[in-house]
């Protein structure tokens, strides 16, 4: 565990130093461009007092330069025109960039921190919901499959139910696999899609996240149920009833409760061992979820959110702010990785006698 934590620590330090260096380079290169421009014109002294809108001032400047550098009237005329053009450029750029150019200041960092807290809040909520959803749907699918084995397959009722279920499942798959922006744009005319609640909901149901990891969890349950110790437990008469109305069967209440236990049932062991294996995929799931949330915020242009801000600052080439936002996102992934590693370590101690 210590090695893992050390690796996380060095990774955080490495990326932080790398991005701070980049920040330094970005800042110095933009300063260098401004200084170079200023240095070229500073050879002619401080011209701050000259009103370039006033034609008398312009003529006076031309005369002064001619007096200083006689015998080069043509060059002097070019220089004056250059100074004028530079002043105009500076002025128009100031107006154009007044609402897009932002510098990384204390206030900006504070604003970014607010957005980050909002991002974290949505992330934690969606992560908890998907963690619950993945396990619940996986268990439900597994139990239903076991129950189906008990039903009479050739009856017309069974076949029509299966057909209806297949249609419903396919429709659900289409929704669950839709990228967030497809779902959001499909219902944008009827609902307000810019709320945090909608964003969290979209994070859970879209981008294929829930289905992909539910399927993984189901695969873990299936693989575990085929192991020898399960057969031994069944032979030794441990409860193995799955029917809803069967004595000792698994009820919906047990499937849907947040902290699942199936005391005295063989499925309890299947579930616990599958959950242990699932924990190792949570890191991957978290990274996928963060990607999904970033896609949602960016694609739907949700103002005042971290990822939208990243996109906006990229567009306006405020790279120092971009670097800070990327650093925030990286810390979120790393934080999750450390948390999951600690969780796995705790479980390892329990199951593998470490």
């Amino acid at each position: 565990m210590k090695t893992k934590l050390a690796e996380h620590f060095f990774s955080v330090v490495f990326v932080t130093v790398l991005l701070l260096l980049l920040l330094f380079v970005v800042r110095s290169s933009s300063n260098a461009v401004i200084n170079k421009e200023k240095a070229r014109l500073s050879a002619y002294g401080d011209l701050g007092f000259v009103d370039f809108k006033d034609s008398f001032h312009k003529a006076l400047l031309k005369d002064v330069i001619n007096a200083y550098y006689p015998d080069q009237y043509d060059t002097n005329a070019v220089i004056v025109n250059e100074i004028l053009a530079s002043r105009e450029k500076e002025f128009s750029e100031k107006i154009q960039k007044s609402y897009i150019e932002e510098k990384l200041s204390g206030a900006k960092i504070l604003q970014l921190c607010g957005m980050y807290v909002k991002f974290l809040l949505v992330y934690i909520v969606v992560m908890l919901l998907t963690y619950y959803g993945v396990q619940t749907l996986g268990v439900y699918r597994f139990v239903r499959k076991k129950q189906m084995l008990l039903q009479r397959k050739k009856s017309l009722l069974f076949r029509s139910k299966t057909a209806m279920k297949a249609i419903g499942t396919t429709a659900a798959y289409f929704v669950l696999f839709s990228p967030a922006y497809v779902i959001a744009y499909s219902i944008r005319t009827e609902f307000n899609t810019d709320t945090i609640i909608f964003m969290a909901l979209l994070g859970v149901i879209s981008n294929g996240l829930l289905v992909t990891y539910m399927n993984k969890f189901f695969a873990f349950l299936t693989a575990e149920s085929r192991k020898g110790y399960i057969d031994t437990a069944i032979v030794k008469n441990l409860n193995n009833a799955y029917g809803q109305h069967e004595k000792g069967g698994i009820s919906y209440a047990e499937i849907f409760r947040p902290f699942k236990t199936f005391d005295g049932h063989v499925f309890d062991h299947i579930y616990k061992n599958a959950r242990y294996q699932y924990l190792s995929t949570v890191k991957e799931q978290a990274s996928f979820l963060i990607s999904g949330l970033i896609i949602i915020e960016m694609a739907l242009n949700i103002h005042g959110h971290l990822s939208y801000e990243l996109l906006r600052q990229l567009l306006y080439k405020n790279y120092d702010i971009v670097i800070v936002i990327v650093l925030f996102i990286f810390y979120t992934v790393k934080g999750t990785e450390v948390f999951v590693d600690l969780l796995i370590n705790r479980e390892e101690k329990k199951y593998e006698n470490k």
């Binding site: 690796e7 060095f10 990774s11 490495f14 990326v15 396919t170 798959y173 289409f174 696999f177 839709s178 990228p179 922006y181 497809v182 744009y185 499909s186 219902i187 944008r188 005319t189 009827e190 609902f191 981008n207 294929g208 289905v211 992909t212 399927n215 695969a219 991957e284 990274s287 996928f288 963060i290 990607s291 970033i294 896609i295 960016m298 694609a299 242009n301 939208y308 996109l311 906006r312 990229l314 567009l315 080439k317 990327v326 996102i329 990286f330 992934v333 790393k334 990785e337």
Partner: protein, 284 residues
Amino acid sequence: MDASVLKQKDSRWAMILILGLLVTGVWDALFLNKPALRFVVSGFFNTICVALLVVVFTLIFAWIVTLVLNYLESHNRRASYMLVTFLLNTIRSVPQVVGILFGYIAVGIMLQNGIIRGALPVFPLLAVSISVFVFIEFVDLMRERIAHYKKLDFYNAMQVCGISESRIINIDILWKNSRIHIFNKLISVFGAAIFLQCSVDFIISVGLSTDVNATALPATMGSMLANIDSKQDVLAIGYALTHPLYVGNLFFEHLQGLTVAFLIVFLLVCTFHIANGYAQRHRL
């Protein structure tokens, strides 16, 4: 056609995919205007082309990195091994979409500055920027397979027989005994490539179109969906939800956006089921 083929989930979904694409193509040929049809077709093929390139690059990167890690591990180069692992884990910690977004921006800037010209080098570059953030899962799979077989007797037996380690790993473990696992993962990578590509293209077209010239990058289904006509078409779905009588119009008047949205989702669903069915058939 042999009915038993359709009983297998992967074959069935592969058939559904082909049939679905054919039906969509015929419907669009009949009811979608020709410029839009050309636009949709080029976007679809560009997306598929980049996704296939991602699959190829992912396989190449993963295979090389796996061999490098295996070499470093078996030759006790602990420092180098830890450095490579550290770098891989650091890439893993960057959310895929963020990494790919920066990759796409870099390609867009290269195109604008004339460093690269034409579509030919653009496709591989876009594919590389996706592969870099996808191939690490593949490395994990290959290393798991190698570690599993190294524990078995046949690995030591083959070494005793004088067979080189590279042959055992490349041919006997990865090719002969893991190609089904590798192929299954490649199907998933194809799906992930489509999803990531469409999402990043959509984001760039919606949010960065003035910074990275969206027209400089080849049109894909993501950028097509961000097109104003397509967005209007997708928005019409919402209208149809509350005005059910309007549903019929969607398939004639809003075909461009509907086709693009359907193709993205349909490809993702089919790829998932094919990979899932393939894993079930081979009991992976």
